[in-house]
């Protein structure tokens, strides 16, 4: 700790920080632009100037940039000094010489950091009377607008895009007052994290293009804390609505999980909520008209359930509450998981590893601190993008700890740190069957089949701890690599093993677990982090349930005849033939879902389930962290959460326990009481009756406009605003105006700080945890009693006339809901099958030619893409892509060379 004097008052601040961070943490309003808590200081903008004095006798002082000045004991500064204030106002004045008078028409207005700093500086009159420089804007893709005239050259965009996120195609060009931030030429920004530019940019140069389709000022949005539903990491978001349309997703700071950033899938995938394909009315197909009211549908469903023998199929993308109430409704013995059996086994295994193993799972923030990383069988950029971003920061750890500490350069001196470190990176090893975007950072990459990856992993574990089984017949090269990896992990302070369910191979998971357990046995502070497929895969696994194949069996052998399918398109879970047989055998199919799909088409009774922004619920992420998401805006009566539909059904059929539940809180309480491991879900947020000084927490900022006129075309008398029975939030701007508990923060705002920079005011220290702790309750801590797995696989053996199909994943396209968002759809690649380049030559197939094959009887014909990484004898099938039907991978594909269904393009052979 150090004592510094700010305007002659002493303050205790943390040593090792820079002056700007320290002042902001103290709650002082010091303006800045180029400094960013996640990216450190560069000293470019000169906005953060304060007076620094040599000692108590120095009355003149000298201007220093607070972001570049280390805190030291007895430092004397002044923020209020007149010269400092005048200088800071001049900096704004200089920026205003070229900044266009766009406020009224600029998307950033109302949440603009430049506006805030301008007001804060006191600058209010433009003396400059000459011309402004202007630029030509670029097309950057479906996600971001580009308006360069507004640029204040703070360099945040390129520092974020290149240095933090590893992007290559955004840069700074030209010099002096013609600096241009953009691409070398127009084109879609390649990074999966490009959307963060909209929040990193302090002005309106980069703004959310999807928001512009239905633009709303921040102060006019109704907002609530939400959780991203598009992968298993559970990044926290803020969802904003107006006039019944979901308008945008912005980052909700969580100091443990996503920090300041989101991936593009999470940020732009929300538009499915506004899709024309939404199920908006209950349908009872036995009657005409099919569309009906809520009560008719409920009665029809209740009689179907009473009349039949009912089973329930849950969903890894539905909330914990929805799955739980379904399980209660149909009974534990009749509750099945709506996932492929392979996925079911793998997620169960992942859960078992987290429960029984010795290593704990770090949060994303902790991943950034790992100083040696080994990734087995995961293409993180496509399966859990924000985890890939965390690994990008992790490879900086070792050089930071060594050379930077030695040279005594503070870690926040970003340019100096990067200059000293140059291209040095900590150890990162990636073993996978296809190339990944993280490969460029890796010390070594190893491309081979999942079983070979598992063998390598087992070898590493054995080298670390001989109790872990040996691998026989390992080639010299692999043995050497295993040794290199083992040495790197053992030499680190926080070694990390990353794996997951994406490869579809159990042995890869087991090998990863062995490595983590071996490291712990050797007293290393090791971590293991596993990705699972969907936002609530972990929650579903923790709830328990039977396999989908047995659900099919139950109906086919007459044990059951009525099925309730919860938020799930089963055509993504099982082969077409199997599924058709199952659905045709059902007497009654009751489906609850948001969007029309192939499964809802088969429903006898279809109930409209509300999406994440129209619902309250809990998700459990891959870390085992339970997080609550809140409904953003009220919906029509017949559009409600699945758990509410199912609870109402339970009440109608007089289920004893369900009938005693009177609201959301009762369901959460029931979960916590019935399942000890899930008792923490009751602690994620305060109950619905929580109030602060008798007031609710408003979802709307105090400047929200139009409330009395919004519905005037229906009725000129303003109706009573809807109340929220499920949470302490209000649907209006009335309520408690201070900071609520961190799990309930609907939006970040502070007086004078209208932009996302207001997050500073909510943190214990700038860039650190939120006051009161970050949202989410971790439910799983490792028991440390798992034995080493002995399931060392043999080497992969090719089969003539066959290819072993391996799953490939795409940030855009593999995940169901986001693929319905128009902006995301533009980024989804066309269907293909990835073939080993040498295999393609042998099979006389060129790039783009069609390959015909069948998996378990389901036929495919897809254009070939050659890959130098995918192992010979295998091929890669992109999962979930529109145009690629489901297959339970990995699986053998029989090559059908004889079938010529489409005219082949001319071959070069």
């Amino acid at each position: 700790m150090a004592t510094i004097y700010i305007d002659n008052k002493p303050y205790e601040v943390k040593a090792g920080k820079n002056l700007l961070e320290a002042c902001l943490t103290l709650g002082m309003d010091v303006p800045y632009f180029c400094w960013h808590p996640a990216m450190g200081s560069v000293g470019a903008c000169r906005q953060c100037a304060v007076k620094v004095y040599k000692d108590e006798n120095d009355t003149k002082g000298k201007l220093f940039m607070s972001c570049m000045e280390p805190v030291r004991d007895n430092l004397r500064i002044s923020i209020a000094d007149l010269e400092a204030k005048e200088f800071r106002a001049h900096v704004i004045g200089w920026l205003m010489t070229n900044h266009p008078h766009d406020c009224a028409v600029c998307d950033e207005g109302g949440a603009c950091h430049l506006q805030d700093m301008t007001v804060m500086s006191g600058h209010n009159y433009r003396e400059y009377r000459f011309d402004k420089r202007t630029y030509i804007n670029q097309y950057l893709g479906p996600f971001l607008n580009h308006e360069m005239n507004r640029c204040i050259q703070c360099y945040r965009c390129v520092r974020y895009y290149k240095d933090y996120a590893g992007g290559k195609d955004l840069d700074v060009f030209a010099a002096h007052n013609h600096l241009y931030f953009g691409r070398a030429e127009d084109g879609v920004l390649e990074s999966e994290f490009s959307g963060n530019l909209a929040e990193v940019c302090p002005t309106g140069v980069f703004t959310d293009k999807t928001l512009k389709q239905h633009y709303t000022r921040k102060w006019d949005l109704t907002m609530a804390p939400s959780v991203c539903h598009h992968c298993s990491l559970g990044c926290n978001t803020v969802a904003g609505e107006r006039y019944g349309t979901l308008r945008n997703i912005t980052n909700r700071y969580n100091g443990e999980v996503n920090g300041y950033f989101l991936c593009d899938r999470g940020r732009f995938g929300y538009e499915f909520v506004n899709s024309a394909g939404r199920v908006r009315k209950p349908l009872v197909r036995s009657q005409l008209p099919e569309a009906t009211d809520k009560y008719t549908a409920l009665r029809a469903a209740a009689s179907a359930i009473k009349a039949g023998r009912t089973i329930g199929i849950g969903s890894p993308r539905a909330s914990l509450e929805s799955n739980y109430v379904l399980r209660k409704l149909v009974g534990e013995e009749n509750f099945y998981h709506g996932v492929s059996d392979t996925e079911h086994d793998l997620v169960d295994m992942a859960l078992c590893i987290l429960r029984e193993g010795a290593a704990r799972t770090p949060s994303l923030r902790e991943v950034e601190k790992a100083d040696a990383v080994f990734i087995l069988g995961e293409d993180l950029t496509n399966t859990a993008p924000m985890l890939a971003l965390a690994v990008r920061q992790a490879v900086r750890q070792q050089p930071l700890q060594e050379s930077v500490a030695e040279a005594k350069i503070p870690v926040w001196q970003d340019a100096a740190v990067r200059e000293l470190v140059q291209n040095d990176k900590g150890p990162l090893f990636i073993a996978h069957y296809t190339t990944t975007k993280l490969d460029e950072l890796a010390t070594k990459t190893y491309f081979d089949t999942p079983d070979a990856v598992a063998r390598l992993g087992f070898a590493v574990a054995n080298l670390i701890q001989p109790d872990s089984p040996e691998v026989g017949g390992l080639a010299g090269e692999q043995q050497a690599l295993a040794q290199q990896i083992a040495d790197a992990l053992m030499a680190a302070n926080n070694p990390l093993v990353i794996s997951g369910t994406s490869s579809g191979n159990e042995r890869v998971l087991k090998a990863a677990a062995n490595i983590a357990n071996a490291l712990c046995a050797r007293e290393k502070a090791a971590g293991i982090i596993l990705t699972v497929p969907e936002c609530n895969s972990m929650g579903l696994a923790m709830l328990g349930g039977h396999k989908l194949a047995s659900a099919f069996e139950a109906v086919l052998n007459g044990y059951a005849d009525t099925v309730i399918i919860l938020e799930n398109d089963l055509h993504r879970r099982a082969g077409a033939i199997t599924l058709a047989k199952f659905l045709n055998s059902c007497k009654q199919i009751i489906v609850l879902d948001h969007l029309h799909n192939a499964t809802t088409e088969k429903a006898n009774i279809l109930l409209p389930a509300s999406t994440f922004s129209e619902a309250d619920g809990t998700l459990i992420n891959n870390e085992g962290r339970a997080q609550r998401f809140y409904q953003v805006y009220p919906t029509a009566e017949e559009l409600q959460e699945s758990w509410r539909w199912l609870a109402e059904l339970g009440t109608i059929i007089a289920d004893e326990q369900i009938s005693n539940w009177h609201g959301y809180d009762d369901i959460v309480k029931a979960i916590a009481e019935e399942i000890p491991e899930l008792s923490g879900v009751a602690a994620t947020t305060p109950a619905s009756d929580f109030r602060i000084a008798g007031q609710r927490i408003p979802r709307e900022p105090h400047r929200f406009s139009g409330r009395t006129s919004m519905l005037a075309n229906h009725n000129v008398n303003e109706p009573k605003p809807p109340t929220d029975p499920d949470s302490p939030l209000s649907y209006t701007m009335e309520g408690y105006r201070g900071q609520p508990p961190s799990s309930m923060i609907p939006f970040f705002w502070a007086p004078g700080w209208n932009s996302v920079q207001s997050t500073n005011k909510y943190q214990q220290e700038v860039g650190g945890h939120l006051k009161g702790g970050d949202p989410g309750v971790r439910l799983i801590e490792p028991a440390g009693k798992a034995p080493f797995s002995t399931a060392v696989p043999q080497n992969f053996i090719q089969i003539e006339g066959h290819l072993y199909m391996l799953p490939l994943h795409h940030t855009f396209g593999s995940e169901e809901l986001s693929s319905h968002s128009p902006s995301v759809r533009e980024r989804i690649p066309a269907p293909y099958v990835a073939l080993n380049a040498a295999d393609a030559v042998r099979m006389k197939l060129d790039e783009g030619q069609l390959l015909s094959f069948s998996i378990e009887g389901d036929r495919y014909q897809l254009p070939v893409k050659t890959s130098h990484a995918i192992p010979s004898g295998t091929a890669g099938l992109p999962c979930g892509l529109p145009g690629v039907q489901f297959a339970e991978l990995p699986a053998w594909a029989l090559l059908n060379r004889d079938i010529k269904w489409k005219k082949q393009p001319q071959t070069t052979f």
Binding site: V42, W94, E127, Y155, H176, N177, A407, Q422
Partner: protein
Amino acid sequence: MGGYQSVRKVLKEMTPAEVQTLVKDSKLRGRGGAGFSAGLKWSFVPIGPDAATPKYLVANADEMEPGTFKDRVLLEGNPHQLIEGMIVAAYAIQASISYVFLRWAYKLAAQEITKAIHEAYEAGYLGENILGSGFNLEMHLHTGVGRYMCGEETALLNALEGKRANPRAKPPFPQVSGLFGKPTIVNNVETLCNLPHIVNNGLEWYWGLSKSADTGTKLYGVSGRVKTPGCWELPMGVTIRELLEEYAGGMQNGYLFKGLLPGGASTDFLVEEHLDVPMDYGSIQAAGSRLGTGTMIILDDQTCPVGFVHNLQHFFAQESCGFCTPCREGLPWVEKILLALDKGEGKPEHLLTLDFHTKYLGPGNTFCALAPGAMEPLQSALKYFREDFERHIHEHHCPWSKSKAWQPSI
């Protein structure tokens, strides 16, 4: 002509530490404009087996300060002298790789230096195990692409690394984290050229060469409307009057002396009353200016001071790297105001704007010294020639233009 004798001497008879002490004791000050003690600068380089390697020595031959041409004389005329000095300096800091960062426009010098480096390698003065001493030194010529900013040592290092020529914040200093993050020393060409002579002839001789507290000789230059503009090596501490009248031949016929910039564009004006000030670091500073590069630019009475300063500000605004706000946005504003004044479109408030720029574009307020340097001629012109600025405003045209219609003064 006794070439590379100093290399032989230091490699065979002196330790690196002894060379450093010699140079420090010689009181050699950097000739690039800053005037910092060369020996003291070297002393911050980590020495010994734990120091990061490789260490670098860079000769700053990016002479782009307007009005400065002294290094050009050395580079074109005697490149071997530079190479010799670089070897001495590299040995003193135990650098193993060296670069000459040469201004793009000095095409002849590029040819000469390339040839000279080749000759030095051939003769065994560069490369491995020089003269059997165990000391290795690589030397490479790097030509810039024409930006003034590369004269700033940290921007030079960034440019040498292939990055944008933005400067770096100090600390950390190049001695700790320089080229590619390794310990580096950047010295001016003239500074390095002094080294062989200091080694060969010793301290007493070197001290005795000068007329002032600063030691050694200085390459002085004079440009402007003088009879014999040029570049001369003279004892440090020659007065301005001596340079102007004895060496530059005084003003051309029909022109009167009005003022001068003593050391290139980024130094403050001095006027008639300063003519007897010695041209050394301390004396010029006491007079309110900077010795800088020691190449004087003379302002005559027939040249519009506003136009003169506008020309300079146009240069500085154009050469700004654009990294920090005050320089990037302030200098073009200043330039536009001066142009307006020159065209007769000036307003009284323009002078207030110029004033706050000179107040706030000071060292420490901007990211590097380019903007503070740009403010020196402006600030001093406003001090000494304010009446001339005011005449532009009140008379609505440039009093120096021959016709009422505006004509460019440059």
